[in-house]
Symmetry: D2
Subunit: 331 residues, 4 copies
């Protein structure tokens, strides 16, 4: 279940402390210019380095393994890979017996019968999102007529994000945040009823990103307190422009041509520096766990580019799937 | 794109005002007892009738077309269907020129090149969820060891739901609400990384239900304001029981054995009785639209059973997909 | 696993002696004219009636349940169904203990743990191909620029098919045959590498038709005795026309624009009128079985239209899946 | 469309003259021992070297990129890759204007709008089957209770294969052959009706192997000349053993427990050393083409191990997909 998409289909592989991580993009149309440099801006945005993010450093350079010839996609699967270089696996030995609260250590051990790789969270690591961002770079070329932009709009409950991060660092703790993503100038009528609506497809891929715990479209949860006469977005011209945008640009799961807007909540990083009382499964008693290693105070800082990538992947897939006369695929 | 699931796979068909609506359940294990009566409780819960819901009445009796012999599933696809009987299509003629705000009239016309059936919203109608509920009845038999329960916890912003509905009726307007779903006693380790996590699968199917605009797991959006040391759920015994349940029973996309909890927002019914100023696409100018027909003041009242069904379908699919030694599928 | 196709996706349901059989076509483009009469020619060709075919008679009229409005497809799933009316289930009781040689009675009992419906072979019945033929009628409209034609070219080893059938009837036995299918004027470049080549897709659906036991493309098995210099089809003009067509119009799994040709072998009908010595699983000893019921002397007589339908379904799916600039889907 | 399988799902990537080729195995159960050495026997069988095969030499050592820890699968996707080292791309420049008869040069140029990589046939190359064989090694561990064996039973129409190859070399031409594959001791009841029968699944993957042009199960095309009373395989014991095996161990698309047998035809290698008269698309006139490069006189010599791998992949997928009580997946 490490693949997503119908006609523009990505498959992820790799573990945090394995030899390499990567992605295959199957269904990529031919003729798209793509060189290694194209990936660097987004991969750098995803990387660690700024205050509040992990000290782990990876060059993260993508190798283009297949599907590109002379700087242009050929129509064959595009495989992208990067080597893991800066890993300290001994950090993780203890978690076999004392699974970290909030992490997948416990469930992955059960699910995979004790064989899962928990070093750096293995295949559950946020590091696996490297492949999402890399595939997103290609997807953004397919969706170039739109403007996809995500940003962190609050952290730790505050809109002063820098201050919130500093306070969390000072208390040796971690915080989450809220990311908002906007798609300006989307094509009309993207999204497939009944089960591949824009909201279904976007939430599906967004919840695959580690640490996301909620998503809402348009005014989202605020709709629960609104009257229908207020929530409805009235049409004001023949292109489908609406006077308000409470629906976040989506009616019946289909883009109505207005700006697509949604927000996601990122939980606080599970690897907090403070002591945690939890269970030692080997010794069968409670213990105190202190998670060492190099972790993010606020992982949400690194996630807007991942959200953009995921969004672009969905939109590229829906463009290549649409079959209407006004859509992109013709009989 | 009218199918959902990998190994327990449902396919929906039908339109609100067509001859019939239904669902096929492919991958249903053999040996499950199923008779027509089994469907009635949930189908009645979904039905109209109570205050605040549409006056449209359908017997909604399911015909079991295939996959069941002598009251037991055979392993072949189970097809379930019900005839549409109480339909008044003339209500909808006007919406071809003046698409209703908040509805799919406009986008479906564009997407399907003018050929979409907009009578009663056609294939975009909430009526199509009949098939979800019917399939959910079978899924609930597969997930019988768990307790899946959804309820409306607020409407129009108030926890006094009856009062909120009465006020909305009085003002000839509509309201939305918030539904909470709980799964007690879930099996450990359901959910597939990377792209078929519990959250991905649940959100995917939940957003297919018309009118849902947001979903959050555990404490959800409140996590944005919490510290990691507080949000983390510490393990307290060898079964994985946790002291708190901020994660809603899900770590790394996989069930950790604690109660699975999530909430969804339902927007106010788009068909409000009040006048709406919107665009007349034929005449090319603004107009005033009054939506007649028989509609729900608060469609959220009818949706908990749909949410339960969707949840059961996801869990049944994940049970039949799991391949771990501790899971359900063995080598 | 009762679905086939990626973007033009059909799902079959029903059993030979259940209430009804049918098919859902998901991904059908909007705007295709379709009325009940359109189905009759092909459904009649598939029907019983001629010498050498079963005496079972069904009106087999298709009901259009969904996806069509005012005689035109809407873009929503097209559901087609027909009632089973002429069934005599008592014919089959004996086969629970003495599974018929060549039939699925034995394997379906094992596979579905004793719960399978074996009346008239249940979901394994050739009757289920009704849905294939019905979906094929729609697919043929999408592939209308081509000419798809299948015919029985030999029966019982003889090209004098009528004589072969008469001899088989005289000896109270059954025969098989060879069907050849030709697609004239196919579009260039249909077929998807690596795993959805024309040959992979066609053979996949063709082997789903009961009784097919072999398929070959172009000169097929004869290629084993040919030299490369002879087998290669040289190009002779700028459209890709070739001097010979040993490859059956397919290079690298992709249509090269020349006539697509393939042949299939149909085994003799398993329900032969002669006595068969086989095992009685209840009594644990050998027995003599005489299969009564109304069966086809040469089921292959009824299958060309099924092969055409399957072929049209594959081609429609590949048309809607292609993404090249010279193909049908554009960026 | 470079993926195959439902629950044991492989994805291929790479081109003949690109940096590397490989495969991802998604859905691989945890706990399977796997080390680099395990791959060598089958990869060597697939390799060039013997008389009648290409002189291209590759170490072909697989790198295990992910999904394996300490020599055991973890349940995460297994990625396997090998570098392409011995490539001479200049051999292929001419084929852009004069596509080789029998190859994908022409169709890939059309399909991918001129952007396809035709060096060494690119993604259409037989070299891509490296990934099939590598994935097959894992699949064979899942199907270890069976004995899967394929062999070349004739070449160039002769059962004296060595003589046939020598004669073809002497005449500077190429030959094809027939491969027979046998699965001894298969589990009962593998295969999924309607569209994922054993024959459908096997033929689907087998036809993805370059150069295969036909497949037949059991007696195959010979069934066309047999009477039903002769073709039927009578049961002789309570395990389902049959007196004959004309059906090749498959009834109704499901394994009946007897040996599974099928044969495939491999066309003669398209790259023959003799002159070919064909079309020059650039100059718009006929020309004489002499294919240089290092090619196989009889590619069929290298293919039995590929057929075994493909067969094991199908059987592994069907094992992990079966849901019957007597099958492998339990409720």
């Amino acid at each position: 279940m490490n693949s997503f998409g119908v006609n523009f289909r990505i498959s992820l592989f790799g573990e945090s402390h394995g030899p390499a991580i990567g992605v295959i993009v199957d269904g990529c149309p031919p003729g798209i210019p793509i060189i290694q440099e194209d990936f660097m801006t987004d991969l750098m945005r995803r990387q660690s380095g700024s205050k509040g993010t992990t000290k782990r450093k990876e060059p993260d350079l993508p190798e283009i393994i297949s599907g590109v010839l002379d700087g242009v996609t050929t129509g064959a699967p595009v495989a992208l890979m990067t080597r893991n270089s800066d890993k300290i696996s001994s950090d993780y030995d203890e978690f076999r017996n004392v699974p970290r609260p909030g992490h997948a250590d416990f469930v992955s051990r059960i699910k995979f019968s004790g064989f899962s790789d928990i070093r750096g969270s293995g295949h559950f690591s946020g590091r696996i999102t490297w492949g999402l961002v890399a595939a997103g770079v290609i997807a953004k070329k397919i969706t170039a007529s739109m403007s996809i932009s995500a940003k962190l709009i609050s952290a730790g409950g505050s809109e002063d994000i820098e201050k919130a991060v500093n306070e969390a660092i000072a208390s040796n703790d971690t915080i989450g945040g809220i990311i908002e993503c906007s798609v300006k100038h989307p094509p009309l009528a993207l999204g497939e009823p009944f089960f591949y609506s824009l909201e279904s497809a976007l939430s599906h891929i967004i919840f695959s990103i580690p640490a996301i715990k909620g998503i809402e479209f348009g005014v989202g949860f605020a709709a629960a307190s609104m009257r229908g006469s207020v929530h409805n977005d009235s049409f004001v011209d023949s292109n489908g422009k609406t006077s308000s945008n409470n629906a976040g640009g989506i009616n019946g799961g289909i883009s109505n041509g207005n700006e697509i807007i949604f927000r996601m909540v990122v939980k606080p990083t599970s690897s907090t520096g403070t002591d945690q009382t939890t269970f030692n499964f080997k010794e069968g008693k409670m213990t105190t766990l202190k998670v060492k290693g190099r972790h993010d105070t606020c992982i949400a800082l690194r996630m807007p580019v991942i959200v953009e990538a995921a969004t672009a992947i969905v939109l590229a897939d829906l463009i290549l799937t649409d079959r209407g006369i006004h859509g992109t695929r013709k009989m």
